[in-house]
Amino acid sequence: MGNVSTVPKESPLRRVLGSFLVPYIIMLVVEGMPLLYLELAVGQRMRQGSIGAWRTVSPYLSGVGVASVVVSFFLCMYYNVVNAWAFWYLFHSFQDPLPWSVCPLNGNRTGYIEECEKASSTQYFWYRKTLNISPSIQESGAVQWEPALCLILAWLVVYLCILRGTESTGRVVYFTALLPYCVLIIYLVRGLTLHGATNGLAYMFTPKMEQLANPKAWINAATQIFFSLGLGFGSLIAFASYNEPSNNCQKHAIIVSIINSSTSIFASIVTFSIYGFKATFNYESCLNKVILLLTNSFDLEDGFLTANNLEQVKDYLASAYPSKYSEVFPQIKNCSLETELETAVQGTGLAFIVYTEAIKNMEVSQLWSVLYFFMLLLLGIGSMLGNTAAILTPLTDSKVISSYLPKEAISGLVCLANCAIGMLFTMEAGSYWFDIFNDYAATLSLLLIVLAETVAVCYLYGLSRFESDLKAMTGRALNWYWKAMWGGVSPLLIISLFIFYLSDYISTGTLRYQAWDAAQGQLVTKDYPPHALAVIGLLVAASTMCIPLGALGTLITRRLKRGDTAPVA
């Protein structure tokens, strides 16, 4: 169980609000479990990393393994930057007050810095102090030394864990997989006792029937399952190849997916209680601002206006002093708890902002901040271990490389190369490039890879042949459910997901991104410049083209060999 439990877990950063429970559970049963079982079985049977395993299944499929490695390589490149940011926040959590809870003062100390006033202090700390973000992706700026240092540290920690190979990684993963549970439990207790947490929980559990009809909810649930289980990266195959052949991977697949999903649901309870707290806090401060504005404009008695009588007093003032009220009216914001709860959470940057904003309002915020970022680091490092294992196992499997260099040197070189490339993400425009990688490096390619895997095992290798292999290996017969899923339902599901994503990309026209405007203190939408679009195309093509190119390559070599052997025969 130790090696298999190293499912690279996506931390509760990609949460989808709304009634995702129903599509989530259905997608888990229909798509998650069968595909997980398939990958584990393939790894355990072939006893090689992803490249070797797929080459054994069928020589035309060596491209699938290479595509997995390429996707894992992209993921390694950019994912450790999240850990670097988590380290940055962790180191800054040991101050009183927390640096993102107060705005820094301006030059003559009469007020706060303008950018911080317009945005909030947490946004200012994220966009200005952490990222030092530039206004657009074209202006790259220089490498920021603070995030660069944190990135070097993050890669050092990863190197320390993978230094001795996957056997030692297994021991580390016990730590990185179990400790977040402790922190989650602590946060659960704290989160449920926060003021306003019930609002968030009520929002999470009220099913919104109209959202179920929206295909977006199902698509998001399917993508979430995909990424949280880590399908298609090759890390599962790599880890399963170290298992005993008689290992009961079916039981493990079911257990792992159930544990993974219940962890996700558990984490989302914590998340939603914290969202509820944050939303309630923001709602109440919005109300207080309106109350203060009205009290000051009309010189009402201090304490007279409360949240309960606000509407009545507003109506009275509108009727009694119409001209003055109309002057003040544009500044009065409409505060609503619903809009606060519905602020969608997407992207790692927004998650950093949302959680830190909630934490800064808790008592003893340093403790909660340290705990939270420690948990985030554990989850992130755990994911990184899976990704690097996916790259390293094929490298160490190949006789060519491992004969020249020892294991430690190969790991060191991989870490060094990724660290050097990762410096790109610490530049001023680095966050925009990070978003590009985050959105496009993995999504389409993974769908295609998993589709190719399922089709290959079922139809190229032969479902009956695989079934007999498994029976010989584990001693158990294959349930009809798995056969039905592998053969029919899962490939269809993946094809429909794929078509949906493609049509989504095509229908939106040019791709857009959110850029931070320092003057306004908010995000603005801009179009990607041509070179960024080229990079996106390259990312998607680099991994997806491996599959047909691999098949083509094998075809050509076979033809050449047949040509060579023909005259002899």
């Binding site: 380290f87 940055w88 180191f91 800054h92 040991f94 101050q95 820094p104 003062l105 100390r109 009469t110 007020g111 706060y112 240092l149 944190c150 540290l153 050092l156 920690v157 190197y159 320390l160 230094l163 001795r164 009290t295 000051n296 010189d299 009402l300 008695e301 201090d302 304490g303 007279f304 002093y321 001209s323 003055k324 020892p406 430690e408």
Partner: protein
């Protein structure tokens, strides 16, 4: 709403005319909020009948400005306006001060207190004594300015006190003809802001002087940022652990490499032992290398035995 104006700014001439009109009594009335309201009916002066907050009104020799945008002060008044004043207070429901515009109005500042927000249950009521304390604090602040050491409490005028508890104040010079320039008052208040806040148990946010920005507390920046210290500690720990692992890995490698060669050495030793221990001394050919020329075969050996 209670209006309190200090009458000490009056010149002796107007004061005389004031006392001559002080005949009409006024009846205090308590409002629901606990403040004492005073509403008096002046002798049939139509333009004093109803305070209209919306429209500016012209009355007598001065302009009454509404809405509290700019304060106005008692100066050169129509005597009738004083009909409701006694020795110390003018009380008039929603009455604004009437007076000068221009420079004097520029030198006045609005103050806003949020006592209930700051103190909650322990909030005190804002009454004449609190105003006296406020005037004392302002006078104290002005006394710290060079050339203004002779500022008295009576030189500070408060006006237009509202339920919010907000009011305007201005500081006059000893001759009581001019108001002190805004810059002086501003710098004096800024210097002593902390003392003024503490006198009222308030802070910069709950005792606001509009147009007087407060100096915010400087950030306590340590010489070395804390995060670098923690980063250094963790970096060193990870580096040391990595070095240890690498070195132990290299040692293991060396031990593995030495292992097979050590095995060979021991085999040689065994052979030597065997040759010595064995009764039959069978020396390996190497030992005899150079001693026996194997190319030369003895006669006996060439011929095979029958």
């Amino acid at each position: 709403m209670i209006l309190r104006c200090s009458l000490s700014t009056l010149t002796p001439r107007t004061r005389v005319s004031l006392y001559s009109v002080l005949a009409t009594p006024w009846i205090p009335r308590t409002s629901s909020s606990g403040y004492t309201l005073g509403r008096s009916t002046p002798p049939a002066l139509p333009f004093l009948a109803e305070p209209d907050l919306e429209k500016p009104q012209r009355s007598g020799r001065s302009l009454r400005i509404s809405g509290g945008n700019r304060p106005v002060f008692l100066r050169n008044l129509h005597p009738a306006f004083y009909s409701t004043c006694n020795n110390l207070h003018c009380t008039w429901d929603s009455f604004e001060c009437i007076g000068l515009h221009g420079q004097d109005a520029e030198n006045a500042f609005k103050v806003r207190l949020s006592i209930r927000t700051a103190l909650g249950d322990k909030a005190y009521a804002w009454d004449a004594n609190e105003e006296y304390l406020f005037k004392a604090m302002v006078a104290f602040s002005m006394r710290k300015v060079p050339n203004r050491e002779t500022t008295e409490i009576s030189h500070v005028l408060l006006c237009n006190v509202t339920q919010r508890v907000s009011f305007w104040f201005v500081v006059t010079d000893p001759s009581r003809n001019h108001t002190l320039p805004a810059v002086e008052v501003q710098s004096a208040i800024r210097m002593n802001r902390n003392r003024i806040n503490n006198a009222f148990f308030l802070n910069d946010q709950t005792l606001e002087f509009l147009r007087i920005p407060s100096t915010l507390a400087p950030p306590t920046d340590p010489s070395v940022p804390i995060w670098i210290i923690i980063f250094g500690v963790i970096f060193c720990i990870v580096l040391v652990a990595t070095m240890l692992l690498i070195i132990s890995g290299i040692r293991q490698h060396r031990r593995k490499n030495k292992g097979p060669s050590e095995m060979e050495d021991s085999e040689d030793k065994c052979e030597n032992v065997i040759t010595i221990e064995n009764g039959i001394p069978c020396d390996p050919l190497d030992m005899k290398g150079g001693h026996i020329n194997d190319a030369f075969v003895t006669e006996d050996e060439r011929l095979t035995p029958l």
